[in-house]
């Protein structure tokens, strides 16, 4: 003992237990494993999320995710709210794809009440959800590029997302927390020139997605940073319960819109893009292709639109019969499910959300171990989590 105490402690780093003993013969002399704390306030964690990394130099040896910083008790809160008030809470789960969240709740309650929304309302819902999927993916391209140090793409993506939000504002009166879908339809019909504006926006978005594609996909640095990083096989992805683009990038063509068509998706013709390698590049590119499919869906849905009612005749205060129901829809992040137990009252007895971000996050440790710290950020970026949904 030289009397200086714990040297690594004095450097402000926590040495692991056992590291004070001389390094074992196999490892490099003089190195110790280090705990690095990333988050909860870290720009690369996309919200309040903490990763505890054990690293050997730049290599990640172990990763422990810590969640719960954004827990608001949404599920419990739902037990105290009317069904129409719950819609406002669902807006705040995954706050980048609010329409898709609302859809899942109203679908579940409609299933329980055996209500059939009018065809026009269903199409408006589909158009809004697909626009929201594109907006969410646009945000992903941008923030993902920022994770890797490319500042430019996010500016283009925000420009295009801004146009989508302007359309949302003209339909629902709000740019993010829309509160627009209702049990039995949508609150208010879209205005007269909606179809024309939506079609123009489709053209704009097509160009916007192409821009992202050209800026990133074929870029040599981008490929170096993403291909072969965080590989997960289709089987492993299914075992982890992953869903959405993360699952499809591994080559499993599972999409709730196709497997269990809800709303009027069965009438629409669209492809389900799948990747092959299951690495970060595939997870990125699947989302580019998906945004293009969404544009196609919107165009078809607009062509199908006919004037008519937008609300089925249901009471403003929905009162579903006693029973239980599970409904799930394809969110931009994956398979979002909601399970409702009703005791016949105006408020649910119990409500449970199956958040795709939360399930996808489980695979983070397996994907990251063995890669560099900088890759941990990239891998987390491709999982595209939204902490509002992870923590609820």
């Amino acid at each position: 003992m030289n009397g200086f105490g714990n040297v690594s402690g004095a450097r402000g780093l926590t040495a692991l237990s056992g590291s004070e003993s001389p390094p074992s013969p196999g490892s490099e002399p003089g190195t110790v494993d280090m705990m690095v704390n990333m988050g909860p306030q870290h720009p690369a964690t996309h919200g309040v999320f903490r990763m505890e990394l054990r690293v050997d130099g730049e290599r990640v040896l172990d990763l422990v995710p810590h969640i719960g910083y954004l827990h608001r008790g949404s599920e419990k809160l739902c037990e105290h709210e009317l069904y129409s008030q719950i819609i406002t809470l669902f807006d705040r789960l995954d706050y980048v794809s609010n329409f898709n969240n609302e859809l899942v709740l109203v679908t579940a309650v409609e299933k329980l009440m055996s209500v059939e929304p009018p065809p026009r309302a269903e199409l408006i819902r589909i158009i809004m959800c697909e626009f929201n999927r594109i907006a969410s993916h646009l945000l992903f391209y941008g923030t993902f590029a920022i994770d890797m140090g490319a500042m430019t793409p996010v500016l283009y993506n925000f420009r295009d997302r801004e146009k989508v939000q302007a359309l949302f504002e003209s339909v629902s009166g709000a740019r993010m927390m829309h509160n627009y879908f209702r049990v039995g339809g949508v609150k208010q019909d879209v205005d007269a020139d909606f179809a024309a504006r939506a079609l123009t926006l489709c053209d704009d978005l097509e160009r916007g997605v192409d821009d992202s594609d050209r800026l990133l996909s074929e870029n040599a640095i981008f490929i170096e940073r993403t291909s072969g990083i965080g590989v997960i096989s289709g089987e492993a992805a299914l075992d982890w319960g992953l869903s959405g683009p993360v699952l499809r990038a591994s080559g499993v063509p599972y999409d709730v819109r196709v497997e269990e068509p809800y709303s009027r998706y069965a009438e629409l013709d669209f492809g389900v893009p799948v990747g092959s390698a299951g690495d970060c590049w595939d997870r990125f590119y699947v989302r580019i292709l998906e945004a293009r499919e969404s544009i196609g869906i919107i165009r078809q849905a607009i062509a199908l639109m006919e004037p008519g009612e937008t609300m089925a005749r249901v009471r403003q205060i929905a009162r579903p019969p006693a029973g239980e129901v599970y409904a799930h829809c394809e969110n931009p992040r994956g398979d979002l499910g909601v399970y409702i137990v009703s005791d016949g009252g105006e408020r649910p007895y119990r409500l449970k959300v199956r958040p795709p971000s939360f399930c996808n996050l489980q695979a983070l440790r397996d994907l990251t171990v063995g890669h560099y710290i900088a890759d941990a950020v990239v891998i987390l970026g491709t999982l595209d989590i939204v902490l509002g949904e992870v923590d609820r």
Partner: protein, 230 residues
């Protein structure tokens, strides 16, 4: 793979965008040149230079600014609520439907209402917009079209209590009702940014119906509700 192609492609996109007009809006005001300043003042450019040389000079050195209002949809749910006291019956439907319970209403007998005739007088009508999430469920719940969302978004305050809209505030402020869930306003192309509706009769969906019509409606409603319950 040839290195550098990706870089060149990326720069290509950047270059193209450099030549496009800017998408960003400068808020709350933007700098204008001589021509812009003349347009804002409503006179011709030579007129500005000769008649108001100081203003023209300021524009040249970049000191002249004009206010910018971002384009907003008329359905935008803004934060100053529009409320018509004469339309309000004090039924408190809005307060009950609000998920956050931030509307406080106190009534006493003896008021007058355009649609129902005799009703309650509103003693207190407070909305705490500091806690409001602008979901507009209160607007939806109001059976008399007395409450509308506003259209503004500028309400910075130093004190939280200033965010509570009291009855006096609601009556005093200019009424720019949003057209959200108010199809009658949309039907006549009402724009909340240019127009003010001070006359409560124009804000409503319907004028006072006759007693016969009201009774008829209640009977109908009860019948359909009963049919649903069975």
């Amino acid at each position: 793979m040839v290195y550098g192609i990706g870089l060149a492609k990326g720069m290509g996109v950047t270059l193209k965008t450099l030549l496009r007009p800017a998408f960003t809006v400068q808020y709350p005001d933007r700098r204008v040149g001589v021509m812009g300043a003349a347009k804002a003042a409503g006179i011709s450019t030579p007129g500005l230079i000769f008649k108001r040389p100081i203003k023209a000079f300021r524009a040249v050195i970049g000191l002249e600014r004009v206010a910018v209002r971002p384009t907003q949809s008329t359905r935008f749910r803004g934060n100053e609520f529009t409320w018509y006291e004469e339309r309000c019956t004090g039924c408190a439907s809005c307060a009950k439907y609000c998920p956050l319970g931030i509307i406080k209403i106190v009534t006493s007998p003896g008021g007058i209402n355009v649609q129902e005739g005799e009703s309650y007088a509103i003693d207190t009508f407070d909305i705490d917009i500091g806690r409001c999430m602008f979901c507009a469920l209160c607007v939806e719940a109001c059976p008399y079209d007395a409450l509308h969302m506003g259209s503004s978004f500028e309400r910075g305050n130093y004190v939280r209590m200033d965010l509570v809209l009291t009855k006096a505030d609601l009556n005093a402020q200019a009424k720019h009702p949003s057209t959200w869930f108010r199809p009658q306003m949309e039907a006549r192309d009402f724009s909340p940014f240019d127009d003010v509706i001070d006359d409560m009769k124009q804000a409503g969906r319907h004028e006072m119906p006759s007693v016969e019509r009201l009774t008829e409606r209640w009977v109908e409603d009860r019948k359909t509700d009963q049919a649903e319950d069975d």
